[in-house]
């Protein structure tokens, strides 16, 4: 298994870099074209949130394997202001007007989402998408 790839997110250009790395990784793991686009979109949304709400942070992309199932994991790590109500930012009617821009969308694009957030300390979001052959 390859090493995790890390992209520091400081400017908008870094979003593009993270997307590119994510797309390449997804392709190598064996995701089809639609899933590659979804994974890339999720990475883009996570990176954009870092810029918007924490101003700086990083995106970690890695291949994962569990019970013989391959997948891709993306972590977004920042030391920003954190979020008070994690369950709220995952609701559709909340995201459009306030902090959780795009998180409901990210949730739909992947199979698993874990959010750890502490007010004043930062947020870590980890998402996983499994490679399922149909």
């Amino acid at each position: 298994m390859r090493e995790a790839r890390v992209v520091e997110i400081v400017t908008e250009l870094d979003i593009v870099t993270a997307r590119k790395l994510g797309r390449d990784e997804a392709k190598e793991i064996g995701f089809n074209d639609v899933d590659q686009s979804r994974i890339t979109t999720a990475i883009g949304e996570l990176a954009k949130n870092i810029l918007l709400y924490a101003h700086a942070g990083k995106i970690v992309i890695e291949e994962v394997e569990e019970n013989g199932l391959k997948g891709i994991a993306i972590s977004s790590i920042d030391k920003g202001q954190g979020m008070k109500d994690v369950h709220k930012v995952l609701e559709d009617d909340y995201s459009s007007t306030s902090a959780g821009a795009g998180l409901p969308a990210v949730k739909r694009l992947v199979d698993l989402i874990e959010i750890e957030s502490r007010v004043g300390q930062g947020t870590t979001i980890k998402v996983v998408k499994w490679l399922v052959r149909v």
Partner: protein
Amino acid sequence: MEQIRKQYKKILSDYIGNQNESDLYIGQNFIKRMIQKNVTPEEVISIHKQALEEVYDDLPDSVLHGYDFLIEVMVHFGLKVQEHQSLLAKQEELRIEMEIATKIQNLLLENEIPKPRSVDIGMISVPLRKMNGDYVHFMHDDERFLSVAVTDVVGKGVPAALCMSMVKYGLDTLEYANSNPSYVLEVLNRTIEKSIDDSMFVSLCYVRYDLSTNVLTWSSAGHEPSLYYDGESESFYDLESKGLLLGILPEAKYTQQDLDLKNGDFVILMTDGVTDFRNKEEFDSREIIKELALANRHLTAQEMCEVIYSELQKLHDFKLEDDFTVVIIKK
């Protein structure tokens, strides 16, 4: 998914072969099945791309890249579709909740129109939205007195309905129909002032009718003035009062006045939804109500209420903008 891909490819290649309308029709029906199976827009494009690739093995790369681009941009489109579906489901939940709340409100505020022998009473109360911000409370213990309260909560919908249940319980605790109207308003005012939000007010007109003397005593708290028709002089009088809306000042005082109801007289109590002619300033709404009442005074009180409602509805092109309540007491 594999099944769908195969069928799509078949329909597509049929169409490319002969450009028949029937294949287009089949294609449209097929997409309905795809929607039912939650196939997203970007997946549709991917299916299309793959099918084309399989039908033509000499497709230029530029065309395929074009499809990749389309798949990419359609991901967000697909997300919007899913968001829309989830909001629709939420809306349905809210609708069901509202329906239950409406049923509860209707049960809570249910009140039968009393039918005493010496006076005829009619009532109509139609909410603008599902829940009513107007409320009519009757009390008649088959004794000497009968009383009617017509209430309007400033505001509409759920907040107004919640506030209304409190007004109802306030009225219920007064228990007897013989209380003085001014006293009723003072008691209710204190209760409401204590328990509701500062932005909420209630207007109320309280009428007590003495069945043995035919004296009607009334008091009003910031409510739309009632109309009194004197059959003898064939003219209308406004029952005006300077009483403050309920819920503003805890120590507000209310006065009450008497009038003798003679045969041929009637009193119309209403909420401001009846006289509110927004965007139609050329109409004098109270004049219209007087004319309607006068022309229909041979009808029963209930029929008069219904005529006023249906005629005003017509004048508003069936788009009333507020809860609508009329009560008529007719001698």
